[in-house]
Symmetry: D3
Subunit: 263 residues, 6 copies
């Protein structure tokens, strides 16, 4: 079957740059998939994307070099299974704060006996090849989002859940939880400590550390810090910023600044 290029890059020690789609359109998905990203994630939590759109977006990504992933709206096994059947090559699951939550997440992404994913691979067979059922358990990426104090507290145990490939920081939520303020590139001591904690724990366990960033420059800095998987803003932020700058340039004015949350 089509192997997961993201997992290979991680094993090879290569950084992974991940696009992020919040606009429900197969066209913007395909455009993004052609800009050089290693992976592109369809965001069904804060993106305004339903399953029908996600399907056409995953299809559109399939003709690009990027590996298609999905972020689900919550730890919902049925939704994860549907996205995997639809051809997502990995799932990012928000708000994983306990081992039990991490286990439920991973089980939904693994066929028995490793998990409880229901059989019916549908579109994944088209994108992956006929031997998809035999290899899917190894190839599907699973990243648990750490965005609460409880998740941080349980980090080592979460990382020890068999089948979990790594963690992904939702910096706005984590910052809101730790500091009372949503901020994607916070320099608050609590956030700096949390980030450092995630990097060292994943390095120790050879798991993947990912994080959302507000720009390419911020993503480069995160890679330098030790993250393996970085997301330099989403399509909404990029389109908003490009529009603001184009209008300002056309009018000969200065463009307004971006907020701390990246929006």
């Amino acid at each position: 079957m089509r192997s997961n290029a993201i997992k290979q890059r991680f094993r090879d020690g290569q950084p992974i740059v991940n696009g992020w789609l919040a606009i429900p359109s197969s066209y913007s998905a395909e455009i993004t998939g052609h800009q050089g990203y290693d992976a592109v994630t369809v965001d069904m939590q804060h993106g305004l994307i339903d399953f029908a759109s996600a399907l056409t977006m995953l299809q559109a990504l399939s003709s690009t070099p990027a590996t298609p992933l999905a972020r689900v709206s919550d730890n919902n096994p049925a939704l994860m299974m549907q996205l995997l059947d639809a051809g997502a090559w990995g799932i990012i699951c928000p708000m994983i704060s306990t081992v039990a939550q991490a286990q439920q997440f991973v089980a939904a992404c693994r066929y028995p006996p490793l998990g409880n994913r229901s059989f019916g691979p549908a579109r994944a067979l088209l994108y992956g090849g006929k031997d998809y059922p035999r290899h899917a358990n190894e190839e599907m990426l699973t990243l648990a989002m750490i965005e609460t104090q409880q998740g941080l507290d349980n980090l080592d145990d979460i990382l020890a859940v068999p089948g979990l490939d790594g963690v992904f920081i939702g910096p706005n939520d984590l910052s809101l939880a730790l500091t009372g303020e949503a901020s994607a590139e916070s320099t608050h001591p609590a956030m700096l400590a949390a980030v450092e904690r995630v990097i060292s724990a994943t390095r120790r366990t050879q798991k993947m550390a990912g994080i959302f960033c507000t720009s390419g420059e911020a993503a480069a800095e995160r890679l330098r810090q030790g993250f393996h998987f970085v997301t330099p803003a989403n399509d909404v932020m990029q389109l908003s910023k490009a529009g603001r700058h184009a209008v300002a340039a056309a009018r000969g004015e200065a463009a307004p600044a971006t907020s701390a949350s990246g929006y």
Copy 2:
């Protein structure tokens, strides 16, 4: 009824900065409508946008400060009437090369006795108000695209068509026609002459001169040249470029250049 803010800006001598939508999504439309543009155009020619998407995009633009316009795929009266009924506050019509074509275009946008628009204002009543039928003939903007040698040759007569508000240069098509190469900011003498001809003819007749540009900076330059209505690239170009730049920055590389056509 809701007056056409674009027409008012033109009468006031204010420049008009226009966004351009090629992605079929009401969300990207609404995002664009909030970035400071005076108008935003739904492109049904080279945008991959069908009527159902155009409707939701016009609805989304209606809650933003931008005036909603549409570019039609060709000089098709039925399509223009549907877009006006759906709440477009103006139409940009491609490939107007003769007076007869310009007359057909304008007639589709005007109720009798000025034209042959069929009555059934539908959503335009919601966005415009109950007296829309009485004022629509004055308020709906009509811009004819000049993008052939024939269109240039007939420019004065086209501008004299009653009810036509101005012209809009499609620089890639015009450049392809005049120089054999698609280019949005061409400095080929034939293009410079054509641009100059459009500016002087519209200034003389007090009609609006518009043009598509590949960036905010290019748009600022076009305003300095004498254009009134400028489009600093479309959403596809903006999203592509932002993605390329984000990936390059994340990887610590230089971003690839944009082609002459803006794509």
Copy 3:
């Protein structure tokens, strides 16, 4: 094949009450199809309905007692053929002002040698039965809209076009053309004369006379005048009026009146 119940009602001298859909939704279509109408028309001209929605609306109407019809956006043979393939049991074509226009309209709705409809009956076979191709030429209803002075002038010749089943008055457009004011139940002498002319010409030729009305009461009056096919307002007018009345009743206020055009 499934015969056209509307044609049968006309032959039987029974009045035909026709619903009119401008909202692009298969659910509102099915609701309307169950309220007792003899026919329901999907309006692709002033309704904000694209082909994909029209398809699901025709499907939804197929499980109701109402005969599904479509009004096209203009005299476009390709669109008519697509709607017939999709299961419309008749076409109402706007702005028929000449014999040639009427002939083009009818030809698009008839297989050779009577017309030039292309073969590929698609969904019509499902709704109609396997012998659809043999009987479709007789069963598909064709109503030409009379809404210009020219259409009135050519009325007798239009009614003589073989295969045309009747005419349908677009009262707002006709009134706008004849009196300068859109009005659905105009009492202007020119409109009264035009209506009388249509009734007498269709009675003489045993063709169907249809008209759009703004309410059930107005439709009853049109039936008394001699019309055979009446449309008591569309879904948009009904929903707007019901909403206005509900709000007014809830607040203990009087509901605002409806405009002359019915909107």
Copy 4:
């Protein structure tokens, strides 16, 4: 940010008349939003509305004077967060029978530390303004549906849940639970007592009391009874009834009556 006009009306002692959308269409949503309602609710439980439609409906409502709300299909935090991100200015949650259920509901609508809403305001920023994150916890309306005996029994404790703005009676479900028969305007003693109980409990706690009604006249009566927030039927009921009446009037017949449930 854009404040919640419904909360303000309640503080001002003004009645709130709320529209109710069950048809998945942005066009019918926009039509309804312009008929004078204070709020309009997108019903994702018994309305046949998916998230993609809800998004375009919320967008369409945003250009009308009505405050956009959503009724969710169940007490599902992920769905509530998506709807708030999509620009709903409040949530009506069905089947709240216990304090724990009410707490889960409210927590999903409040950012930490008041709740566990995940950060990513998306479209809410466009409709609400850049300071949405700071004020959303105060402005988002939360109404818990009381439609079981258990909900009635726990009413006082439910109303005491911090952050809950009020309750909303689903009369058909409550009547089915209490009397064995679905009925929207039931005069069964058990229902009269239940209604009275809700009115007095909300009056005592200065919380909002809402209820679904089958007509504007019934809604007026509910306001007189002491309710603050009334819904005079939904779009499906209005369209059905208007259609039935139009057909009956056209045929010169009496229109059939509406059932007790309002359908």
Copy 5:
């Protein structure tokens, strides 16, 4: 109301042949509904079908002789209620392994006092008739999928849950659970025993036994074995196989074989 023809066939001892839809299209649904199946199931688990598509598919099935059913993605009461409101005449629920799960499933499909289905029958009234609420509890079909060892172990107790009409074997999942290999027509002793166990338990209790098959021939064999309700492959398998065979025949080659799972 419209009675459930599938329940009647079962009472009459007639076999039930059921189509299975995984492609999200109202057109392929309607095509399938006309091919002679007794029932057709919209598969929202491994079919790539969202609720909006399911609605139009149920509408399309309503004009065919087939009884419309839905398979849900998991034991989610809100989703089941929405599908029943949308006109599904029965629900197939995956992964029922315990009595509590079976009870939750059945309760979602029954109005109080038999269950907790919320009242708001919406489209079901249109398809079923005005007395739907009175009869729905008897007419809606409920089939619990047995596809785990635990489900087999609890089979007798599951079949004893009041209101459950029968069970349906998901052979790929059950085979994966019992034998470590997904296979739809497995001859592994463990699977043969499981199948025999389901047949004898349902015969004893006069409940319905259903199963998914990979072809019409396999379905005929299952009927001979004692199953009452058989599904001879889904639309994806049929379309894939037909395409492979057409290409092979056109090229004069042998067509490739189908895998054991049917895909």
Copy 6:
């Protein structure tokens, strides 16, 4: 840019087996694209496919080995340009009966100076590569449908139109025109002569000869006759036939025959 594999196969003397899509679904499109066809055509004439669906279908085909083509509803330059911008690698145009019609068709598919295609390659750049504009005129396939007596009469002149790659027989329409009966594999002498005429004329001019067939076996026969490009039925015919056969096999009955038109 991505070269046109169909053109290459033709130059290499390899037969081309072409799939045909009438169901508006990106999923069935992708399934079909993986069954071994050299090309797959999105049918916008008798397929019930609108532009929005066509876009997602072309995207889905782009990740398969098949070359994506489109059949337009009529000789409409704007629609052809939109489909080429959306990534169709060729156009099949119905009802070409005169040289002027063929010239209009080809011109719409060629950039100046060879034609009048408007510049704005959109998605074609993503699928084809950045040098698409330079090579598109050579790579886009153009097939004119011959399906009238007039088209046959003008065949030699039509084949001589520069830029036309070949012709495609619509056998049902041609048979209806020549024999009064729609039939896809007619053995009527007039049809046999017409087919022979097309084969010899294309062989003489080294143009491509294509035809629609009702099965793989019929397609193999057409290849033996000398056709280069064959379509062994469409998805609707395949799904219908597979369903009929599955039901018959399950019931132990004989499957009903297919009609002469293939439907």
